[in-house]
Point group: C2
């Protein structure tokens, strides 16, 4: 996926390719962020005229971005009525977490098998940073690093498809997870689980790691479930 990856070690780095980004692409990430961060609440109808004016773009690329988001499952397309931000039922969230759990477990197993020590060390860095955030009770930074760590662990499996699918599901639950302001002791538990996961990854103890990962995400569901209304 990365251009730098395919270069020989001794070769001079090719200057970064000019990043060209079409408008619909930019709109896509913008809209996605708006949904994830809650600027567009679930159930909201996306008014193309209004959003388009707000972002200073015409409706055409905006509509294209919306179609993409629909496939990602973040919005729902209703014929002749446009797009509405998808509202997830408790069951749907549960279903997502079941799948995410399975995917991360798979990733964990693969990671233990094929990740390099350097890659694992990189995750350790993130982990330690996250622990620092926990120490000073910085929820937002903790949350962001948490996401990064989960993604990084999945990336260790060296399976682009797995990473893509996981990322897609992760995006859907991001907003919900973020809302889940867990209590002090639940948070402490999550931190302890992460500590274990990190150690098991470094020991490359796949079975134990997978067990913890599954347990961690199962508890994640419990942490989230209370914050759901329906």
């Amino acid at each position: 996926m990365d251009a730098a990856k395919s270069l020989g070690a001794g070769q001079t780095e090719v200057p970064d390719r000019i990043e060209r980004q079409s408008l619909h692409e930019a709109i896509l990430t913008r809209l996605r962020d708006m949904i994830i961060e809650g600027a567009l609440e679930p159930g909201t109808r996306i008014n193309e005229g209004q959003i388009g004016a707000q972002l200073g773009v015409s409706r055409t690329p905006l509509r294209e971005a919306i179609k993409y988001l629909a496939s990602e499952g973040l919005v729902e397309l209703v014929p002749a009525r446009g797009a509405i931000v998808k509202k997830f039922t408790a069951k749907e969230v549960h279903d997502m977490l079941v799948v995410i759990k399975t995917l991360e477990s798979l990733a964990a197993g693969e990671a233990c098998r094929i990740a390099t020590d350097a890659q694992i060390a990189a995750v350790r860095v993130l982990h330690d940073e996250m622990m620092a955030c926990y120490a000073r009770r910085d929820r937002l930074a903790y949350y962001k690093l948490n996401q990064q760590i989960h993604s990084a662990m999945v990336a260790l499996a060296d399976n682009a498809v797995l990473a893509q699918v996981h990322g897609q599901l992760q995006n859907r639950v991001k907003r919900i997870r973020f809302l889940g302001h867990e209590g002090a002791e639940r948070w402490a538990n999550a931190v302890a689980e992460h500590e274990q996961m990190m150690e098991l990854l470094e020991r490359r103890d796949a079975p134990a790691l997978q067990e913890i990962v599954v347990a961690h995400l199962t508890r994640g569901w419990e942490r989230v479930r209370e914050g759901l209304v329906d």
Copy 2:
């Protein structure tokens, strides 16, 4: 979800809701079929003008459908150069099958746990039909029923997210699988595996079923791998 569902039992059935389908939706399924069936070969650049004229639609809804396909992973978007039908490397196909394997294994376990007898019987019907197709060596019909059975088994897990993700990945490998014209004994093996799977599902023997499912798909990879050039 279904309107009929919310009606009292004695009430007269409301006539089916008018099925409306927007143009970009119709184009979407059409394009997807064209890709899966090989009418649009991997690596082909999608010429919007040409395809649009061919389908008798303007570029706008066509482009919207393409964006959707891009998110599904069937098409790749190259800035300022449009969309090209995604070409999968052997590794990518392998990666997909690894994920599919995991998802189907998960589904199998859930299915044993929660599927009703009636639902399992419905799969049995498909299975027997498929066996009839095998008996008369009807490859195309066998292939289609095979897909249906795998999807049906996933559906038994009663997890819409799982089904959606699985379906998406299934779509990506469909064309490749279809190409994989396996030899007689490989085919016989696959059939035997299906026979076992069906029996284990009826016995609700989750562990054994999951094992066979994984083995079946691993062999599926072997069956496919030879047909790949790169």
